[in-house]
Symmetry: D3
């Protein structure tokens, strides 16, 4: 690979990297259901895909840490093959990995999550680190949420999200071999298809109400069938561009 | 008081309430700095103010639980008088309070937070409850974020937020005795006043970067001086209306 | 109110208070059943009532922290409306709140509990703090136990305690609107009314045996019907006097 | 030994004991300083001494569990040789040991502590067990506190307690070889010898203030020099009698 | 890929796999220094290499879970690029991943660790699972320890181990691109090169004494220079054969 | 007793011992079934027996800490009288006891376990201490595993282990009064007596598979009937000799 990775480095090289590459980028994903047509590693693949492109674009000023393939997925445990950590464990784990990087001398860390379910725990980690290591710059980023303009250009259904148009497009671009085109099926595409708690969870009034994804048709939000690798490239390029610009400011800041 | 409160009820009355009032509303606040001109209980006051109005509007179909006056405020600990819980402790505490309500028979709980720093922990609680009590409807809501249209009508500075226009307006309406008008001062009002990490934390690119609020002028975002009780009433009314409508759907749902 | 409260102070005022008011008084209560005639916030009301009088008597040399309305009430969870924290969570929470006060510069803290069930956890916190912050003066105090002479003057039943004469008298004085006079009923008033485990739990031999309060008639120990606000004033005045004198020694000590 | 001990039993014998001996007695002690003249295992020796006599007196209706030689001693860690557990760890440990006894079929457990510092944690365990195993009769007992009348007959100094008259007398009776008579020295015997925080910690006003025992002369409260084995026998006999009578009621109760 | 992987499966396929493939194989590695000549992902690569061959050999009767790239490496944290979890966190994490698999219906799990430092935590997980899920067959296996006869055939130095002959040979076979041949250097090869604590840690008397790997030359035990991919193939084939035979018995057992 | 024990020392003597006796030896055992013929304290007795002999042989250069009579025994909980701690609790407890010794000035600690089930947790403690107290020499040792040559001389059955020949011989030597000769019975002595999971757990292929000891005949591995006190003396002498030599090197090292 053409960019620095902690996994494939030796420790001697890492010693050099602490000075040369002040930023560590850590991708975190999930092992969780993505409907009948997409692989369960989807979130990890996207986190790694974005993170490696960001690191590549930083031209030696950042290093990539190994992707964590497990995340916080309690809303998907009704689906076989989902493997979920509690948020508390995830938080502790990330805090400890940060400790190691900190002790080695790094002071800037950027976590990229391919899975929205990791976001609360990452926000908590950010709060914890404010007290544990106030001088550490700890940033974290989602992926899909950074591409709202690009996704708006796709002809998305009124309900879309998990395993829907935007996520499937990314996979068609990053790892088409992990998409079973013939198995792709629309999930819940309109609020009117929902009732009760699931319907209320899609309310735009403001309060948040969590539901298990077995409340949605096939565990999918949106229709993954029509999007293309080109769509995915637009999304990934936009996200990589934004995160890279952010990372450059992190690297230059003091 | 004109609405049912668990604090002032007897247990005999609570036994009746389990059947009559299927929803419990729990306000959570914070003890944290709010600049030189506003009391440190601001978030608790606003949480209670909104929650009691919501419960009142539900006409006996909901009960109010005692407001929790401490929250997750690691970003404010540099300011004297802030008292902060870790997110992990806050999560455990809320999960245990939910257990008690659940054991008594309630299946619908709505937490209203006056403090944004509690949001990650509340999201984690929602994830935990999906596994602990899948049939429990656990919703939570912020306050200010539900009043974007109303706040847009105020002539807000480009940077505004903690202890700024929207929050001060709410306090001018709910508890003007807790606002020291003469001490109100503008905090950071434009990104150009910031440098380094604090500036990057305001970036709109997408990644999130936490900073201590001692990075901002006076620990304040925005200019709290011009807003009025009328402004605050507009915000509170809008928020109460949205949450009440959401709560009504919770109560009716099954 | 005429005394300094952290809740209603600004952080600027708190900075001043660290020097002027070396003692922080923290009231802790409970949300728990108090029989058919008294509100569930009874312990919180009494803790706040005593704590605010103590702070008032210290004439600017102490500040009041926000009252915690939840405590350790596993012996009352069979009664609807009780909301209980585990002792472990309560301990952690109090330790963290102490951390915040300590970091702000306070070295003397006095916790006043209106609920006996919080006592073991507070004793543990005192042990923890001996190792965490050896130089911190951490004191804690019950309420009713400090008024034994005054309670002896009431014509109490041989069994009395939770929601009985002493506690009801305090509420008749502090918050008569939270006492439903017409609903007050005697609970268990003599050991002879008890059998088995509950009877043994009242033994005076020495060992302690905990029982759920559903073992007692109405969850009440004693007869709450005859006591008056004057009785309550005697108790509260005596308790406030003792704690205030203790607090004065804390403030002057070094 | 003339009484049933889980330590020296086989598991086959324990299976029989579950039915024949419905009560388990668990002694807990401490490894902590006891002044210049007494062994650091003093609390464990006394706990075992009392517990084994209680079990013996119950004539086959109770079994003795192995004594735990470590307790919660943060107030003694300034003295070499003290080994202390946190209260949280002690609580968890006792809860787990109870689980094992419960799973084997026992429903009545009596813990006897030779160390006052274990009392808060044991009270917490009692609270925890009310929720974990409501039908378990979990009692715990101190030792010296049960012999107030007998200790009053000794000519005790106005301050007496840890390693003082009552405790030394018990050791002169139970294990005189662990008392170095020539090294016994008076510790703090009057409040007037104390200043500041230590003096306040002896206040009788009511609030509790913990101090490290290095605040007291030699870490000792009272004068251990004049008491005899006969004094100790009086104390131990009285304590054993009270606990045995309590234990008999536990055994007979249902 | 020619064998079933949970990562690349859809959840629909996983539902089928629960019945068809009763065994889940979970590789766990480490991100830790491997001397100047080998990549820090070495243990993860070897765990995945062995696990995927085992799953392949089981012909559809087992599935592969995503490899965990972080392990328990406190003895390597002095080397930049090592990222270590505490054993407690690792234990909790594995227990939670097992929970997910168990809830989906799997009753047989085999964990393969490429890192010896994970062994104590995995042994603890095995103990935990005996109580949590007694009917679960949870096995775990090291790699190199299963190839003693094959390693004996290599001309190993008297001290060999971490990053030495056996491990380097495996990497020359599995991932030669991750070995920097020119950078390979001998580490500690004889006990006589060591002094003090490090020397004692190599004692064969029996007691175990842990040391940081910075006590060894280059953090390496043995001489990694002469071994070949053929040596590595002998080791890997032997290990895969043993684990596969064990796994077959797991699959057939009931 | 003819050797220094922390339990029977005074704190004054312990202060001297920190300098004179740089090593602390801590025995840890278990309360767990040992078949129909041996006492449940067997592991504690053997740990104390070995540890006291080691300390005695070190002639004043080491001190003995109180033996812990409870260990990690989840594989024995199906047998009445077993009392088991989780590994996590055991780890925390040992880490805290080490903290006390460390704070008193000791830098060398040797833990001797009579129970194999404590080994994983002790290995984890050793890992924890590498990060908590890198300069602490923390060693731990099993007992029986150090006497392989001596055990080979006994005419052992092909399966032997828990409560079998080696362990019974040790008890015949150390505490014959705790062996019920008439009740000793052979347990599982050959793999052919086992089926399914229990049989696979005895596999020599390499992977480890834990089973509850209720899978073995009488919870015993081997035939405890023929061994003698002389056999036990051979084993104990060999183990004590090895550990003592190791301990001497610890004491002299720096």
């Amino acid at each position: 690979m053409g960019f620095p990775e902690l996994a494939t480095m030796t420790t001697v090289e890492a010693t050099t990297a602490v000075a040369a590459a002040p930023l560590v980028v850590l991708p975190v994903g999930a092992q969780e259901q993505h409907g009948p047509g997409m692989a369960m590693c989807t979130d990890t693949v996207r986190a790694e895909g974005v993170a490696s492109r960001v690191v590549e674009g930083l031209a030696g000023r950042a290093v990539l840490a190994p992707a964590l393939p497990y995340g916080v997925s309690p809303h998907h445990v009704a689906f076989a093959g989902t493997m979920s950590l509690t948020a508390a464990t995830f938080q502790t784990m990330i805090n400890e990995l940060i400790d190691s990087l900190y002790d080695a001398g790094w002071r800037k860390i950027l976590i990229i999550t391919g899975h929205g379910g990791n976001a609360p725990a990452l926000s908590v980690v950010a709060q914890d680190q404010l007290q544990l290591h106030p001088e550490l710059w700890l940033a974290w980023s989602p992926i899909t949420a950074l591409a709202k303009p690009e996704i708006a250009q796709l002809d998305v259904t009124s309900v879309h999200g998990h395993s829907g148009q935007a996520e499937t497009a990314q996979m068609q671009f990053l790892a088409p071999e992990l998409v079973r085109d013939a198995e792709l099926q629309p999930g819940t595409t309109e609020v009117s298809q929902l009732t009760g708690r699931a319907r209320l969870s899609r309310s735009t009034l403001g309060p948040k109400l969590a539901v298990g994804f077995d409340s949605y048709h096939q565990g999918v939000l949106g229709d993954p069938r029509q999007v293309t690798a080109e769509d995915g490239k637009l999304i990934i390029d936009a996200v990589v561009d934004k995160i890279t610009r952010f990372a450059q400011e992190m690297i230059m800041g003091d």
